[in-house]
Symmetry: C3
Subunit: 151 residues, 3 copies
């Protein structure tokens, strides 16, 4: 349980996986790849952050939101594979940032997720990533993140 211990050291707890908002499931495993559904910054069943970056929510808060999205990806992956120590590689993140049309610092927000994963997993936490700005997200979440991992 190394990874879960590190999650605790970083001040977080893997909670019950956030329930999908709709008719889909949180993860699908095909062979050695696990695909997650897009995760929002839910904490204990509540959306912890909302709003567009940077008008309605600060960059600092959006970075924390990205961190929680990554944590929630790990929660649903744990539910799929039983133990996060079975993760061999974080393969890919897609980070959708709910932002105004003039915003240009999406990588800064996405780093909230990327740096969190590298703290937890070290070299195997290093991943390919796309970060883009979108005009709106479900429930007005500031960030939505999907992940592919190898197990």
């Amino acid at each position: 349980m190394n990874i879960e211990n590190k999650i605790h050291e970083l001040g977080y707890t893997l909670s019950t996986p956030p329930k999908p908002l709709a008719a889909y499931i949180p993860t699908v495993r095909i062979g050695n790849l696990v695909f997650t559904a897009g995760q929002l910054p839910f904490e204990n069943g509540n959306l912890k952050y909302t709003g567009k970056v940077p008008e309605e929510i600060s960059e600092e808060e959006a970075i924390k939101a990205a961190e929680i999205c990554a944590l929630n990806c790990l929660s649903v992956i744990k539910a799929e594979i039983g133990d996060l120590d079975k993760v061999k590689r974080i393969v890919k993140l897609t980070v959708f940032v709910n932002s105004s049309s003039s915003y240009v610092k999406h990588p800064k927000i996405a780093n909230g997720a990327s740096e969190f994963l590298v703290k937890l997993f070290g070299d195997i936490g290093k991943h390919a990533r796309s970060a883009v700005g979108v005009s709106s997200l479900p429930l007005n979440a500031p960030v939505e993140i999907e992940m592919i991992v190898e197990v």
Copy 2:
């Protein structure tokens, strides 16, 4: 031909796969995975729905548009693998909703696709999914959906 029969029972017909709008192809199969190109709500060669949700097109119509996008994903998958009964698992949908910047109910629209797939495929139709709002889509389509399936 179980799946095709169910498609008919739901009132649809698998038509000739929509032609790509450009220099790409509708599907690529690598091993046991088929990746589709993003599909728009074309029906018999015409884009059946257009407009941004919810100002230019109602949620009810956008839900139907999502259903047709999913149907079109199945059309191009059938052209790749010959028979939809060979689908072992719907793995992942990415649902892009053409919506105004204040829209927050993207999962409701994406459910048009997700529920349709579960009606057709049952448990193996349950998939991971991301649904995001985008500021514009090709031809002003209300929804664009891409799919990964295991065969």
Copy 3:
């Protein structure tokens, strides 16, 4: 080195892979698949094009930007696999076009990348593709492209 020769014939040089803007890496290889991070139209370390299509940058320039994004995907793939002639198939592109909310010709822009790849790779360059409009991109780039290839 057939592919690199063709890249030169088309007037381009594979430069040093663009450095990621943040805490992630340019590629991850899992088995026979290579996933790239989203690439921007950097050339020799500078973002060659910026702005939203079509107000701030013309379609013609955005098409060239898409071409350079595809070139940069190839640069990072070469760094991962050593020789682009090892590419067996271009599997999938996701093309994010930084565009105004009324823009509808995203496929035209994305063709800059798709046609370039088919010129280089012929039939194995034919790929599945999604092209969507987004409200903003990192550094106000006009296009961001991510790629999956089989090696």
